[in-house]
């Protein structure tokens, strides 16, 4: 028996860039959307859920592939998207145009922007299959939303949709990893562009603008977060904890000085997938340099990089099937470095996904699910030395049976220079 040829959604188009091609080569996004939605519908069937009522964009993006206007704002949860299991149909509220709407969502399932709650109710009442639902999963409930749900599906039990969607999204196909790689390439380009201009006298705000400009040069992409360009502190600040290496992210007004260690983090969404890259530039006369064993980065930076590699490298090495959040944190702790304020590991997909390991939280993630083959994670480490500064860098990895596969490709991380 010969194995069946890979489904189009599983073929990975390397070295093609992001262009739409006349021969259809490249990522088959229709197949990718269909495969994601199929996984969601299967999970709904397993859990006996009749309909998903979604208001959070990462979930909506995963389920529908809707290319929507991006806002960096968390408003009260509104029921924007409904997926009905019996029909497999998607309904999108507040979508006045079919621009950005995948063709499998018919015009009849779109309703326009509205500011009137009565219109929202009316539109949702028109969703076939919602009124009779017995089990509905939602990803949030606005204070007024409880009334809304009881009005729309009076007989339904309402569950949390997030664990279901998190579980579906946990493992990424090769095509999804390809999208993440493309996003990483964009972020790497922007991090390098910041480095080229990290000279004495440069302004952190201006470099942040440069990072944003470098990213959008790649076309219609979304900044997943504001770029971070910030000289790391050489002493603890008033807000620093004695147990945590100090790091503020907001740009300061102080111009960069020679020898500053400048934490740089760029995060971008390409077709919804996150590329997150952090490196620390040492400010030099010809631009920033990353420590790579050569002398020009200074011995303090070289020593910090070595410490970062020991700690973050141990975490990356621990990113294997079966590892739990505790295993990953233990790997960091084993290096003897104090835990950073930022999470040491986050899942990478449509933005940040579980597990969120470490970080300045009052409780643990609460998700102790072991790592599986196909998960993608961002390992982000930060180490600090009084009088010298700090070193922030990240590596995005894929969990495989052969061990962690590094997806980030930039000096100053775990990749040894040639």
């Amino acid at each position: 028996m010969t194995a069946a040829p890979p489904h189009p959604a599983e073929r990975v188009p390397h070295f093609l860039g992001t262009a739409a091609t006349e021969d259809g080569a490249g990522v088959d996004y229709a197949a990718l959307r269909a495969s994601r939605r199929r996984r969601v519908l299967e999970a709904m069937a397993d859990a006996g859920i009749d309909a998903l009522v979604l208001g959070r964009y990462p979930n909506i993006k995963y389920v529908t592939g809707h290319r929507s206007l991006w806002r960096a704002v968390l408003t009260p949860t509104a029921p924007v998207c409904v997926l009905v299991r019996s029909t497999g149909q998607v309904w999108l509220q507040a979508s006045t145009w079919d621009d950005g709407i995948p063709p499998e969502v018919p015009h009849a399932n779109l309703t326009g922007l509205t500011w009137n709650p009565r219109t929202v109710v009316g539109a949702l009442q028109g969703v076939d299959g919602l009124a009779g639902a017995r089990k509905v999963a939602a990803d949030g409930v606005a204070p007024s939303g409880t009334v809304l749900l009881s009005l729309l599906c009076p007989d339904a039990e309402v569950l949390d949709a997030q664990p279901l969607l998190d579980a579906v999204r946990r493992v990424r196909t090769d095509v999804e990893v390809h999208c993440i790689r493309t996003a990483l390439a964009m972020a790497e380009g922007a991090v390098v562009d910041v480095g080229r201009h990290a000279v004495a006298g440069a302004d952190e705000q201006a470099l942040k603008g440069r990072a944003a400009k470098a990213l959008v040069r790649f076309g219609p992409v979304i900044l997943a977060s504001e770029p971070v360009v910030r000289a790391t502190p050489t002493e603890r600040g008033p807000r620093s904890s004695p147990d945590t290496p100090p790091l503020a992210l907001r740009p300061s007004a102080r111009p960069l000085s020679a020898g500053d260690l400048v934490a740089t983090r760029v995060e971008v969404l390409h077709t919804g997938y996150l590329g997150s890259v952090a490196r620390t530039w040492v400010v030099g006369p010809g631009g920033g340099v990353v420590p790579d064993g050569a002398d020009d980065a200074g011995s303090g930076a070289q020593a910090l990089w070595a410490r970062w590699r020991r700690a973050a490298g141990a975490v990356v090495a621990a990113c294997r099937p079966g590892a739990t959040p505790d295993t990953l944190l233990a790997a960091w702790d084993g290096s003897g470095e104090p835990r950073p304020g930022l999470p040491v590991v986050v899942g990478v997909g449509h933005g940040v996904e579980p597990p969120v390991v470490g970080g300045t939280f009052a409780t643990t993630d609460g998700d102790d699910t072991a790592l599986e083959v196909g998960m993608t994670l961002c390992v982000q480490g930060y180490v600090w030395e009084p009088g010298v500064g700090g070193y922030l860098a990240s590596e995005t990895v894929r969990v495989t049976n052969q061990g962690p596969e590094l997806l980030t490709r930039l000096p100053g991380g775990l990749v040894e220079p040639a």
């Binding site: 290319r67 204070p143 603008g209």
Partner: protein, 399 residues
């Protein structure tokens, strides 16, 4: 750096005065505590800077605020402890919560009891994760959980002098970034290139954040050249693409940026090249409409007075987009719920009365199929006897 305007600004005073307003609104409504999850609610209560990000990030790494009646300082639970405001007492600054998890929602309830010193009787909440919705009512029983949205809307509607200064600066920075884009506008650039120029200059000039994917949309000349729509009106604002600009393209902009959380909302109309005679006429009508509306802006004027003036100046039809509105109030993060001429209908507009301290964005649109149209946004602050016009972007080359 851009000259940020002559006004003085005291951020600590601004935070203090906002908290006083929250407290007054809580007292009026009989609330003992607030639990705030929306980014605007947290910003208003705490003024805490966080990196503005996609909700795919902020849902997992989010600040939460709690306000206790009688306590002049908010409690901030944040993953970005070292970026918290200097004047927030250390015992009001806490590790981040995870309200999206069952354990995190429980912890949120326990923290509320801790900072309150017991179980409050009436708690205002501005959004729930599903775990919060399941966990909080039994955990906080017999507390009454109420909707904090109206309270926040009321507190945010009138701007203090410091808030007004933030809005002037925010608008000036967004206009500065617009100037950089307009100077670069030429055939052969992609509309996404305009976004790149915009963001580069915006941060360089000193804006503290960006709330919206910057819109630089090349407009179809006719509606039937645009995408299908539910209402048949002008398709705006669409998602950024990489349309390559050509001579004669009309570009509408819509950019919402931040200065200390306060939004600009600059929208302009540009032409790659020179406007046609008909396009100048569309501008002239837009100007007549805008002047007619501005002529009515003063304390006591109702929303209906503004819409009526606009309709009259436009010869009897509504000169704004069917899916939007003629005007809206502005504050933290962008547009506020007071929208004049929206599908809430004239009943809302009749009830809505302008008062000193409100910030109002007026965004009339004129359109003639085959010639595109003219749309710009103007910001005014309502004063004791009229208004102060904040927006100052020129309308050349249409004038």
């Amino acid at each position: 750096m851009v000259a940020a305007g002559p006004g003085s600004l005291d951020l600590a005073r601004m935070r203090h005065q906002r908290m006083a307003k929250l407290q007054a609104n809580m007292a009026e409504r009989g609330l003992d505590a607030l639990v705030l999850l929306t980014s605007g609610g947290v910003l208003y209560a705490t003024g805490a800077w966080t990196p503005l990000a996609d909700t795919g990030q902020t849902l997992r790494l989010r600040p939460v605020a709690m306000v206790v009646a009688g306590d002049p300082c908010p409690h901030l639970f944040t993953p970005y402890v070292e970026d918290a405001p200097d004047d927030l007492p250390a015992d009001h600054l806490h590790r981040a919560l995870r309200p999206d998890r069952a354990t995190g929602a429980e912890e949120l309830g326990h923290q509320l009891k801790d900072v309150f010193g017991g179980t409050p009787s009436v708690v205002g909440v501005d959004d729930y994760t599903v775990p919060m919705w399941e966990v909080l009512p039994p955990l906080l029983a017999p507390a009454e959980l109420t909707n904090a949205t109206a309270l926040l809307t009321a507190a945010r509607l009138h701007k203090t002098a410091d808030e007004q200064e933030c809005m002037r600066r925010s608008w000036a920075l967004c206009e500065e970034a617009h100037r950089a884009v307009e100077e670069a506008l030429r055939p052969g650039l992609r509309t996404s290139d305009l976004s790149a120029i915009f963001l580069g200059r915006l941060f360089e000039a000193g804006a503290t954040g960006n709330f919206l994917d910057p819109v630089f949309q090349a407009m179809p000349e006719r509606l039937d050249e645009g995408p299908w729509s539910t209402n048949g009106d002008v398709p705006f604002a669409l998602v950024t693409n990489d349309h390559i600009l050509r001579r004669g393209d009309v570009v509408w902009t819509d950019c919402v940026t931040s200065y200390e959380g306060y939004a600009s909302d600059v929208g302009r109309t540009w032409v790659v090249g020179e406007p046609t005679r008909r396009q100048r006429e569309l501008f002239a009508r837009w100007k007549e409409v805008t002047d007619a509306v501005l002529g009515r802006v003063r304390p006591g004027a109702t929303g209906v007075e503004l819409t009526s003036a606009a309709v009259e100046a436009n010869g009897g039809t509504a000169p704004w987009l069917d899916h939007y509105f003629l005007a809206h109030t502005l504050g933290l993060e962008g547009g506020e719920p007071q929208r004049i001429g929206s599908d809430l209908g004239p009943e809302f507009d009749e009830r809505f009365t302008l008062e000193p301290g409100m910030a109002l964005v007026i965004e009339p649109v004129t359109w003639e199929d085959g010639h595109t149209g003219y749309r710009c946004e103007e910001l005014v602050l309502v004063t004791d006897d009229g208004y102060e016009k904040v927006s100052a972007y020129p309308n050349r080359p249409f004038e």
